[in-house]
Symmetry: C2
Subunit: 399 residues, 2 copies
């Protein structure tokens, strides 16, 4: 039974959380410092960038949450505090300033940054921002928080889900920022999640890793992971459910809700990586291994040549099979079938069979490629493993 | 002793070869069919694309040269004969038409194609072209051949080297075409080499693989290998040297000459991948393994964000270390030093140390980035392995 229900709201939906977003002059305009506070210490889990270069905030956060507890998240936008002398000291200072303002221990603070690399943080502005944010935190502050972590995303991204553990309603909220318009390569991906579910920290960690694997790690937009990428979750335990301590129904319900929320945020982030962007989904079927399937799917959505052609309405199946063939995925280079569809249409256009052209209706393909969501389906005819990847097309060109 | 001497000319420099390039209407304009003929059957070796999707000509060529001999190379541009019904039959037909015109066995013909995928070859035009080219072959035809394999390369690329085996002068000539302007992803890379050296076919094969590994396989321009990529060498043995049958001095002299020729052609190809392009070389030092060094070097020259910034004169070292950190190379993300230089200048600008900003002379860096050849040097401070990768910058922007 699917009990996950999407609801309006974000990180302050779950019981026990407040948030704020303020402006302290690190970006040329707009809010640039976010604070999330919890009424009491929370169970915590985090997933960090796969880049070998890691921003100073990640080092400090990873150290802080070793003791399995956190009560606040502070994040600035505008300056990344990465590849800079004294970065770790600055990140620690942010934690101690936040801790002081909130009367909690500094090691209970999660710190994150996004923005320009190689330049130092203006600590006086950060200090003023933290003070202001600590005074402004409220249940209504989730949207300001969503605004404060943006760099050049077209829209703030926040969402929440409701689910049942036994008959107790529980909530997860999330706020995210994604890749940046014309320079998606190293735009930081951040997502901060909150929940009121009562769960053992090890299970919280396990559920987060699983959810990230099937959502944020399936975005492939042609770039590389930023040194500051981070996903965290705080769980207050205030929902009143019997504590989840095993992999039974309660854990499954939580996992399902968390995965659904992360997937929606990841798809939103992918779509939002270009102004007016349209979600491109590549489903790969029947590959030899899961790794091959994922390599193949990601090769398609991250191929600039494929994205460029599809955006213009060109059903470029030769580019698609070549992108997969050149991805390093172990596939049969003469066996792939490619088809095109959209959730908004009942049509499916089969473009090629066994990597050889089919006589398809070019106008139908062209029409499908004008939809706001596009699905490419690739059958490798080569095994039993499937995978999916999310990318972004440009708006339909005006003629 | 380095005896390799670059000389003007190309595939008809070595004794025993003639060539022609003709127009048979597969491209909208210009020559589009190349023929290389040898006076007698030659030793042959080939290296093919790493793409799992392989053009029909590669399948037929690989089959043909199994018996270790070839006497002609035929290549058309405009249509790739790839991902198309009946592609293998068409490639075989080209071999038999060429064989008939030259009075040689069809399995002594190497066939290649480059151009649009997924569309059938117009066999009547190809047939007419082969007839015309067979009649036009001459020692002076090398340049026409170089023109006939181009798709959208800015310049035809041909070059030759002279070297000594004992005291006998021997020659290798080469003709190449590379990646295409604004769509480098799947532009075919072709290189046809000829030599008059007398060498055992197994050593010819070994020398070619070695030369390709250190030249064409070090180009990284952000794309993926095309399904039709191919490098071949024919060796007529007519130079009169004592046959090379072991790894002694004669083999070393040949290897050195072949590697030097392939490297020059690869660098030319990289530079020529954008109109007015400038060669970008990334040297990676002190990585943990050779694979890590090569992954790191290729990540830099193939990163569109890095190329875009350097082209504009921005010494984007944070992007460089992040591109390496996100490449999958096993590097210490806090240990890299990056510096900038040019063969045209005595200046070296050290941009960062241990992934942390240095106070460098921005104007000097900016001036270096205006040179026609740029070298990025990355020290991983992490091991004993080096690698190099070649890419391309845009022309210096006019202000």
């Amino acid at each position: 039974m699917n009990c996950t229900k999407f609801i309006t709201g974000g990180i302050t939906c779950p019981k026990g959380f407040e948030a704020a977003g303020v402006s302290c002059g690190m970006k040329s305009q707009g809010k640039d410092l976010m604070l999330i506070t919890a009424q009491k210490p929370c169970a915590v889990a985090a997933v960090y960038t796969k880049n070998a270069v890691k921003g100073a905030p990640l080092t400090v956060t990873a150290q802080n949450i070793l003791h399995g507890r956190a009560q606040a998240v502070v994040c600035n936008s505008g300056i990344a505090n990465c590849c800079v002398e004294g970065g770790v000291a600055a990140a620690k200072k942010i934690c101690s300033l936040t801790a002081k303002a909130l009367h909690i221990p500094p090691e209970d603070v999660i710190v994150a940054s996004t923005g320009e690399m190689g330049v130092p943080l203006p600590m006086d502005r950060v200090e003023a921002g933290i003070g202001e944010a600590a005074g402004a935190c409220s249940r209504e502050g989730g949207h300001d928080a969503a605004l404060a972590i943006l760099t050049d995303d077209p829209t703030p991204k926040e969402l929440a889900v409701e689910f049942l553990v036994g008959d107790v309603p529980c909530y997860i909220g999330g706020v995210a920022k994604g890749s940046g318009l014309l320079r998606p390569n190293m735009a930081t991906m951040l997502c901060f999640l909150t929940s009121d579910v009562n769960i053992h920290p090890e299970l919280l960690d396990r559920a987060l890793k699983e959810a990230v694997e099937k959502s944020f790690h399936c975005m492939a937009l042609g770039g590389i992971p930023s040194p500051n990428d981070m996903v965290t979750i705080l769980s207050s335990g205030m929902a009143g459910n019997g504590k989840i301590t095993d992999l039974g129904d309660g854990y499954q319900a939580f996992c399902q809700a968390l995965s659904a929320l992360c997937l929606e945020l990841a798809k939103w982030m992918a779509k939002d990586s270009r102004p007016g962007g349209r979600l491109l989904t590549c489903q790969v079927h029947a590959a030899r291994t899961e790794t091959d399937a994922l390599l193949a799917a990601k090769a398609v959505t991250s191929c600039s040549r494929v994205v460029e052609a599809l955006s213009k309405g060109i059903p470029c199946w030769t580019d698609i099979v070549c992108a997969i063939g050149g991805s390093g995925a172990n596939v049969d280079g003469g066996a792939m079938d490619v088809s095109l569809s959209s959730p908004a249409s009942e049509e499916t256009v089969h473009l090629c069979s066994g990597c050889t052209s089919l006589f398809f209706d070019v106008q139908k393909a062209h029409d499908l490629l004008k939809e706001s969501e596009i699905i490419l389906s690739v059958d490798c005819n080569d095994g039993f493993f499937d995978a999916v990847s999310y990318g972004c097309l440009d708006p339909v060109p005006e003629l």
